[in-house]
Symmetry: C2
Subunit: 312 residues, 2 copies
């Protein structure tokens, strides 16, 4: 019987590096991305097309994209804040681009300096721009429902608002929505409700991925709930690097190493060589010696006699 | 509609303190236990009736039990390694006692210096001793299936061996078996299989609790799987204090603070005042200044607008 495949989408080079002060040298980024791809990581969000004046640590994103798309079998994703960023991302050759739509409008204004209506207009513009490209050049276009589980600024975010936002974004032309716990507020019951709710509203094929943080230690429990609800792509970050610069105290992505261990131990296929992946942390440690790296599995090591599920 | 109740069973004063070198003064233990009970923690494993020469940090267990049973509404549990320990625990007045049965016989011999047959004989002896007590004095008698998810010494532990061990222990007279991930090897799929398997073998009412570690970061995901499989009692430890001295590298219980946050966020009743519980960490920090305390929720704080489920 073939095992179910879960796609681990590595966001460290974008979400991780965006959240820290240290600027990782371009060559180190390339080494890191290549090493992860060599371990079987099949999708990496490599950067964000944001102004270099605001995020100097991501100023080399176009160069990184051009490097990464040459790696065979790697799906290269990037974040874009607006139409201008999307055009730059497409010119660089991304396979997938994602624009964040914060369901909390307060967070939306802080993050993108645009209100909901304005972001939806950007989504429509990007979608139209993609539609007129030759089919082979069209990237997959996702909008992520940020602060979907609550907001450090607004507090509780109504679930009905998340569902209606998902509908509006799909209507505006996004291929897909992603569900994002920007603030680390999510709990497993809420993950189940929102995944089911959004799928009911926009269709099963319009929500396949979640982006979860481990801010309150619930990251893997939330990932488990998401998988049980049919999610097939889980974002994570090597060493748990990352957070959101405009959501104070909301640091800490799910740790890729722990996520892969959980998935393989449960019998899911990830296509990832976990022992090899654990060694890639050294590249990160060398490039970012001052940054704390998270993760329990790297410290504890793999269980004695552990046989993970490998292969693609 | 009434919400489902999950019992959070605090094991810090036993599992936590047993694993560290520092000896917590008796008065500090009492303060800590009382403070947790005052927050609504309804069951605490307060110590272990082991030789003081081996575990000087638990030498005051009888005194702690006598103190704790005077706290109204608190279920007081203790670990015992053998018949002699059980008699001492019962004399001190415990409400619940637990003897570990390591499914890995190698670990069993290291931990209790007895093989499987010998531990089962102790279980039978304890059970017979309890049976001749007046009904009001009979404690609840549990045997925990240690190393049920794998062993740092033996490696993989066959699931069939866990099930047959459960059957033997219930036959020998234990009221209940507990399922214990002594080594932090468990994954959610395995938790589901073993909980369902044991319940099928010995009956639903003979397995109500799990003891999980967070060694590889999967603690709360495993707890979620256990709850979904019908488990109603989850062991945890304030600050994640603990591990097993005879399972190298297997430190780190589930953190009580993060577990309670997850349960309340999901809408389960715990009867615990979480903001108040977070303050109790100060007692632990003062008493054990050199010990690292784990937990994400204490660092991140509760979400803005968070309304947990309280009350009993």
């Amino acid at each position: 019987m073939s095992k179910k495949h879960i796609l681990v989408s590595e966001v460290g080079p974008r979400d991780g590096l965006q959240s820290i002060k240290t600027i990782m040298p371009t060559e180190a980024k390339k080494r890191w991305i290549k090493a992860m791809a060599d371990c079987g990581i099949k999708e990496i969000e490599v950067g964000s097309f944001v102004p270099a004046s605001l995020f100097p640590q991501l100023a080399d994103t176009a160069e990184i994209v051009r490097y990464a798309i040459a790696i065979e079998g790697l799906q290269v994703a990037a974040l874009v804040p607006n139409f201008k960023g999307a055009v730059a991302a497409i010119e660089a050759g991304v396979h997938k681009l994602s624009i964040p739509f914060s369901v909390s409008e307060t967070h939306c204004l802080k993050n993108l300096r645009r209100n909901h209506q304005e972001v939806i207009q950007e989504v429509a513009k990007i979608s139209q721009y993609i539609a007129q490209l030759p089919v082979a050049q069209r990237p997959h276009f996702e909008t992520s429902l940020s602060t979907a589980f609550g907001c450090t600024l607004e507090g509780v975010v109504a679930e009905s608002k998340v569902l209606s936002s998902a509908e509006k974004l799909i209507e505006a032309g996004a291929d897909e929505v992603g569900l994002s716990d920007t603030t680390g507020y999510a709990n497993p019951a809420q993950v189940t409700r929102l995944v089911n709710g959004i799928k009911s509203c926009v269709g099963n094929d319009k929500l396949t991925g979640v982006h979860l943080h481990n801010t309150r230690g619930l990251g893997l429990a939330n990932a488990l709930a998401a998988i049980e609800a049919g999610i097939e792509t889980i974002d994570s970050s090597m060493g748990g690097l990352g957070g959101c610069p405009f959501a104070p105290g909301a640091s800490g992505n799910i740790v890729t190493e722990d996520l892969v261990f959980m998935l393989q131990a449960m019998g899911f296929e990830t296509g990832i060589d976990l022992p090899k992946l654990l060694l890639v942390r050294d590249i990160l440690k060398q490039a970012l010696p001052a940054e704390p790296l998270y993760g329990f599995t790297p410290d504890a090591g793999l269980p004695k006699g552990f046989v993970g599920s490998q292969g693609s």
